[in-house]
């Protein structure tokens, strides 16, 4: 059984159940409302913000729960506190690449770190409970807005200018004066300030900034769109965030494109600021221990594969264009972007050696071993030849057959068995980093390390984000709604001269500004300043010293 609709005793208008102030004349028709929850009855213009029914289904119960501001604020608070927990230790995507997470958190942060990991806090922002909180926020936004917005729309849409005297008295700003001769003038002055005028006999309504009331509902709509967009991120195909590692000179396939696109790293450039450039920065740079980078750049050639059919097959690459990817200047193709992320200069590329005899004299030319795909033999001249008999990129031990065992295929700790021959006799030696061991006895020659060269590799980030339009649109709408709600004020002034001059005013925010606008007009027309029942000192003029 529903609460009955309420018929106003004064003007006869039939109001929806729960309405406090008559929608037509503003008289209090229902004082049986929750005064704790509704402190200012004019906040929603006296309309019923929640319709009550006795038969509450589970959906009704859920709905009512989420329309509560207290619930909404609590959800926001819980989300804020949860978010702060994620900043205690770095999230998983901020820890160094390739490190095992459990290891990292335990090593660096001890038991607390381990607990953090076990609870899943290292991936807090995509954890199931955080997602549910966001979902609850969305429901709260929708429910609270609909429940308040629709009744408000109804009551603000067809406002009558004629209001009951109790309505006037109920407003925070209210004034009654005996001389009514200046009503027209006051109205004209107000109209000059942008107020729209509506009248009914000698009752008048002056209104401006109506749009302001919709600010919150617009910004909530924006937020809902934003939340929808961020939810889409989890849907397949909407979001790609991958690293693309390209060594200088290499061409690699771009992931997630089904082999359609390839990128070549022609050159990776790092520029540093010159500490003797003659600029204002010289002194700072000279004082600093580190070099300051001025630019990271990867000069790429972008290719399209005409033959993308089977995985692993040789691509038929057609050059699309050249581009220089720099920080703040990504390369765009299709729905993707390639960003300059970082670089890697730590992988060894080659090692250069030279042969020396027992007197330390250098024999022949230097030879360079390419660590990725080394040659077997090196003719160094003077009748000497060096052959690489064995090689381990990441040397760990020698097995029972005398073979060099490698731990990984990455050249981080290279070791070689070199055979030095002059055509007749051969010598063998084992070369590791900083250590040379003769294999054959009494070697006359020794292979000496000269220098090594590292690879330059660029690390690019491949990004595709189809959720971006939703999120951007949502947030822009939010900002517009926020601006409308904050910077514009909805001001209404009711005037009647039934019995002397009666004026009352209401605004959704900034009574200070309303008074500042209204009082000079009243003063000009010979009236007193409007009475503000919430102000302490009623004699204060607007530009007053606040100090007593």
């Amino acid at each position: 059984m529903e609460l009955k609709e309420i018929k106003c005793g004064s003007c006869g208008h039939v109001n929806p159940p729960g309405t406090q102030l008559c929608q037509s004349c503003g008289k209090m028709i229902n004082s049986d409302y929750d005064k704790k929850k509704i402190k200012d009855v004019m906040r929603y213009d006296g309309s019923a913000i929640r319709s009550k029914t006795r038969s509450k289904s589970i959906f009704d119960k859920i709905w009512m729960f989420f329309t509560s501001i207290k619930v909404g604020v609590s959800i926001i608070l819980i989300i804020a506190v949860s978010a702060s927990i994620g900043t205690l230790f770095p999230q998983e995507y901020f820890i160094p690449v390739g490190v095992e997470p459990l290891q990292y958190y335990t090593d660096n942060y001890g038991t607390l770190g381990r607990l953090y990991y076990e609870l899943g806090f290292h991936n807090l922002y995509s954890s199931w409970w955080f997602i549910i909180l966001i979902g609850m926020l969305a429901l709260s936004l929708i429910a609270a807005s609909i429940d308040r917005g629709l009744p408000l729309l109804k009551s603000l849409r067809n406002q009558r200018a004629k209001k009951h005297p109790t309505f006037y008295k109920r407003q925070r700003l209210n004034l009654h004066q005996h001389n009514d001769g200046h009503t027209e003038s006051v109205i004209e002055d107000l109209k000059k300030k942008g107020y729209k005028h509506k009248s009914d006999d000698n009752h008048h309504l002056l209104e401006k900034g109506w749009l302001s009331r919709w600010g919150p509902y617009i910004n909530h709509t924006g937020l809902i769109i934003l939340l929808f967009g961020s939810m889409l991120r989890f849907f397949p195909g909407m979001y790609v965030d991958e690293l693309v590692y390209v060594t200088e000179g290499e061409t690699v396939q771009i992931p997630e494109t089904n082999g359609q696109y390839y990128v070549k790293n022609n050159d990776f450039i790092v520029d540093m600021y010159d500490e003797n450039a003659g600029s204002v920065f010289d002194e700072t740079l000279q004082n600093s221990n580190e070099m300051v980078t001025s630019n990271y750049q990867t000069d790429i050639t972008f290719y399209e594969n005409q033959n993308k059919d089977v995985v692993g097959s040789n691509p038929d690459l057609e050059e699309v264009e050249d581009y220089s990817i720099r920080v703040n200047h990504p390369y765009r193709f299709d729905q993707f972007e390639l960003y300059q992320s970082s670089y890697d200069n730590s992988q060894m590329k080659s090692m250069t050696f030279q042969l020396e005899d027992s007197n330390g004299e250098i024999i022949g030319d230097q030879f360079t071993v390419n660590l990725d795909n080394p040659d077997q033999s090196y003719d160094i001249g003077e009748g000497m030849e060096v052959n690489m008999r064995a090689y381990a990129p990441d040397f760990v031990e020698i097995d029972e057959n005398g073979a060099l065992i490698s731990e990984t295929p990455v050249a981080t700790n290279p070791a070689f068995v070199f055979e030095v021959t002059d055509g007749e006799s051969t010598e063998l030696s084992l070369l590791q980093v900083m250590l040379s061991t003769d294999i054959t006895q009494d070697n006359e020659y020794s292979v000496k390390f000269v220098e090594n060269e590292n690879h330059w590799a660029t690390v690019l980030t491949l990004k595709k984000d189809l959720t971006l339009p939703f999120i951007a649109t949502g947030f822009i709408i939010f900002l517009i709604g926020l601006a409308i709600g904050s910077y514009i004020n909805h001001r209404r002034i009711w005037i009647n001269d039934e019995d002397g001059f009666s004026i009352s005013a209401h605004t959704n925010k900034n009574y200070f500004g309303l008074k500042k606008e209204l009082n000079p007009i009243l003063e000009k027309n010979g009236y007193e300043h409007i009475f503000d029942r919430d102000a302490k000192d009623q004699n204060e003029s607007v530009n007053t010293d606040e100090e007593k």
């Binding site: 319709s51 859920i62 997602i131 989890f234 992931p255 990725d372 990441d394 057959n401 073979a403």
Partner: protein, 177 residues
């Protein structure tokens, strides 16, 4: 608002949110496990072998079952299982093929390893130097061995060293109808 409209509105909004949340959570949970599993269709690929030939999975798979063995010379269990695989392969392999997919290495390392073996390997060694096939199959630990039947379906997968029994089992699975 009419009671009926209000009810429809409330129910549909609440349900939509619950469903969307559910779907989101489901995607979130399942996004990590995308590796090729038993029952999936095998991804076709084409690679060059050590001998310089091109092999394509689908071509071989037309007539025979295929056992893919992802390996590397630095991987000790891979090195250990190779001779066993070779011996069993040499017993007869009309119905199946073993393709040893080497992950990321250059010829020098592979040849160095092969020359250390007592016997030459009889099955083809495919060179996946870009890791394209390794990534397509989401192979993580090495060795990983995958059995594909004649219908192109993955019927077995093992992410550690094969014993001789394992090898026979893989052969049987890839050749069974």
């Amino acid at each position: 608002m009419k009671k009926q409209t209000r009810n429809i509105l409330r129910i549909s909004i609440i349900l939509s949110i619950v469903i969307l949340l559910g779907v989101t959570l489901w995607f979130n949970l399942t996004s990590d496990s995308q590796a090729v599993q038993v029952g999936d269709e095998a991804v076709d690929f084409q690679l060059e072998t050590l001998d310089g030939e091109q092999i394509q999975l689908s071509e071989i798979n037309q007539e025979k079952g295929v056992i893919l063995n992802f390996w590397g010379t630095w991987c000790e269990p891979c090195r250990e299982e190779m001779p066993d695989m070779n011996e069993i392969y040499n017993e007869g392999n009309e119905d199946y093929e073993i393709v040893a997919v080497n992950v990321s290495e250059g010829n020098q390392q592979i040849n160095q390893f092969l020359s250390s073996l007592d016997e030459n390997l009889s099955f083809p060694i495919a060179l996946d130097s870009n890791r394209d096939v390794t990534k397509a199959y989401q192979v993580s630990p090495l060795p990983t061995t995958i059995a594909i039947d004649k219908n192109g379906i993955v019927v077995e997968k093992q992410e550690y060293q094969l014993t001789t029994d394992d090898i026979y089992s893989f052969i049987e699975q890839s050749t069974s109808e």
